[in-house]
């Protein structure tokens, strides 16, 4: 029997018992039921349509066919799939709900028991990571479960666990059983920290560095508005104290959508913080434009006055085994640290 077995109305006449004449349709257009006496056999005035068998009165659709709305032919059931993402964007390391819904396009009713499969992909250069997969494959986050079955309301939910890295992710879903008419379907989500914008150029106050050719990220100066205000206060104070010295040279802040800032381009933790637009590195080594060692004391003082937290970072001992320690970061062999910089928490707190 067909899953959606139903009578199929044939032409203008109904089936007949072999000893009686044909019977007309009733006022609703259906053939009368139980019209034959015992020992008489059913005959049909016409044959069943395609994908139907003469079982019942008079025809039943073959599985998985169902009667069309006029009940004159058997058609394949029509389903359509839709995806809803809530929220439409998600912060790094947080999760979002993806809801797939299947409806019967013939009836408009939700369809229970449909198996839906889903997978997630990522735009490998999105979120400011122009290096793409040059160093390592990019993680896509997690999606649980990989397949699910629709409930009575026609929905099935999946949980997307966003990675630490910001970027554009897409979901591809399809009804595996039965087939939907719009298979497969895709939807996008942005993994991002909202509210960041780039530091406007102002050569009289600071120079933006670190996004040069050859670097893994070229757009590295995004901050929140509050952090930008603090940065300007720091830069003006510094320039006021040292009007004849180079202005602050600003290195990595955050990427355009925040998230993990993997300065080596390998998708692994690189910078601590630098994820939410409130932290920026300021050059403080021997390179051009660096805050010179003699200015460190007053630089730190003006930072403290503005409730800005200024740490000095050097090259890790695990990399060069030189035991470099702030403030000078001079190695055991007397060498200067080319990586020495101020790690500035503009809002005075860690991200």
């Amino acid at each position: 029997m067909g899953a959606e077995s139903d009578w199929i109305n044939m032409g203008g006449e109904c089936a007949a018992c072999d000893v009686y004449a044909t019977f007309p349709k009733d006022s609703q257009g259906y053939c009368p039921k139980n019209i034959c006496f015992a020992s008489y056999h059913i005959t049909y005035s016409t044959s069943c349509p395609a994908h139907a068998q003469p079982i019942g009165n008079p025809c039943t659709c073959d599985d998985p066919y169902v009667p069309d709305p006029t009940k004159t032919s058997c058609v394949l059931d029509q389903y359509s799939l839709s995806l809803q993402i809530s929220p439409g964007q998600v912060e790094p390391s947080k999760s979002a709900k993806i809801i797939a819904k299947v409806i019967d396009t013939l009836t408009g009713q939700p369809k229970e028991g449909v198996t839906v499969g889903i997978k997630v992909d990522v735009d490998v250069t999105s979120g400011g990571h122009v290096h793409g997969e040059s160093e390592a494959p990019r993680g896509k986050g997690t999606l649980i479960p990989a397949t699910g079955t629709t409930l009575a309301d026609g929905t099935v939910s999946f949980t997307f666990g966003a990675p630490e890295v910001s970027g554009k992710h897409s979901f591809t879903a399809q009804c595996d059983n039965p087939t939907c008419t719009n298979n497969p379907i895709t939807a996008e989500i942005k993994v991002m920290v909202d509210g960041l914008s780039t530091i406007p150029g102002d050569p009289s106050l600071y120079v933006l560095i670190g996004g040069e050719e050859g670097k893994k990220h070229h757009d590295n100066h995004y901050l929140t508005d509050d952090a930008k205000s603090q940065l300007v206060v720091l830069a003006i104070n510094y320039h006021f104290l040292y009007p004849n010295q180079p202005v602050l040279h600003l290195n990595d802040a955050s990427l355009e959508w925040g998230g993990l800032f993997d300065f080596t381009g390998n998708w692994k933790p690189g910078h601590h913080e630098h994820k939410r637009g409130t932290v920026i590195d300021i050059r403080a080594n021997e390179a051009t434009g660096a805050v010179p060692f003699n200015n460190f004391d007053r630089f730190e003082k003006i930072a403290l006055d503005a409730q800005i937290n200024a740490d000095i970072h050097c090259t890790s001992d695990k990399i060069d085994h030189q035991g470099r320690k702030a403030p000078d970061c001079i190695g055991l062999d007397g060498s200067q640290d080319s990586n020495r910089h101020y790690h500035i928490r503009l809002m005075g707190v860690a991200e």
Binding site: V233, H272, R298
Partner: protein, 368 residues
Amino acid sequence: MKTAILYTTLLTVVLAFLVMPSLAAAVPGEGIVFDSASGNYNITYWEEVSDDTGHDLSGLSKATFEPATKIDPVISSSIKMDENKQMVYRYKLSNGMKSKQMLVRFVFDLTGNINASRPLLKPISGTPPDKQSILADLIAGVQALDTPSGWDGAAVPNFSGLRISWSYLRTNFDITQGVKPGASQSGFGFSSQDLPGIGIAQLQGNVKVYGLQFSGEGVDPGSDIGKQALQLVKNNFVPHSAAVPTIAVPTPFDPAVLLERIQTHMHTWIGMKLLDATFSSQLDSYFQSAISAYRLNQPQVGKKQIQTMLALINKEHTDLGRDEEHESDKTHEKNDDRKSVLIDRLAARVLDFDLKYVTKRMGGDKDD
């Protein structure tokens, strides 16, 4: 010889771990341990690091945090009203003999205002700041302060109010500079339209670096150890109470409203352990009577209530109007009167000043 030194070092570390409570532990081996011999914190943390080729070099690392709190400071506050009815605040810092560090930094976070050529206390928002006005604030802030020579003063507006700071003009991280143990430094001050309340000053000793010093990117601030370490930095000062501009005088002058503000501020002293709750309730009844009297336009009745309060306060401490900024430390010690359990001496001086201000504005101190 080398072996012996290594053994001693190891033993010290082991003893420190045994004696000192570990403040936090996350990854096995991580921890922050206070070393009572040096007064420093030894931090062992997981350092996540990879080289330029992406090769993972992560492992445990060590760092030391030297707190800037090895000082025993005293702040002497002096408040006067000048002929223009402006409050003149003066401070003297003394570094106690027990201090192990030079005193080099003195900070207030104010919610009251100070007098400057342009208003400094104002809300700072996220809108991109106007450079000229930041520069003007900076100059006005420096000019608004009295700063002793060899020190740098600044009054900087921020998100929560106004930060006043004086820093010794140290050079090259030289930790021998600053106010030496047993010495003092006067000459800090400003004027304000606001009446004094009690604020908490932050004082710091001279250490090479005020933050954490690590090799590399250091401890992950999001880890348990990282959070504990940042807490050490956040509390890296010795708090000391001082008289600071706190209570705005209403314009036009309204004694009832001002008394309410004084009373509200006074209540915060109970939590600061500067005022006994029962004594506070006793004062409250006089506050209420005075406020009602001024509201009913009975200034003489109001004044009587204030005078009763003044008498109560002066019974607890003698010589409240004394100028402590210009006394030598010896005189200060000698004159230190009996300790009241009901109200702290500085609190009593502030309340005495504020209540007398109300009576002065209402027609003088003379009895009628």
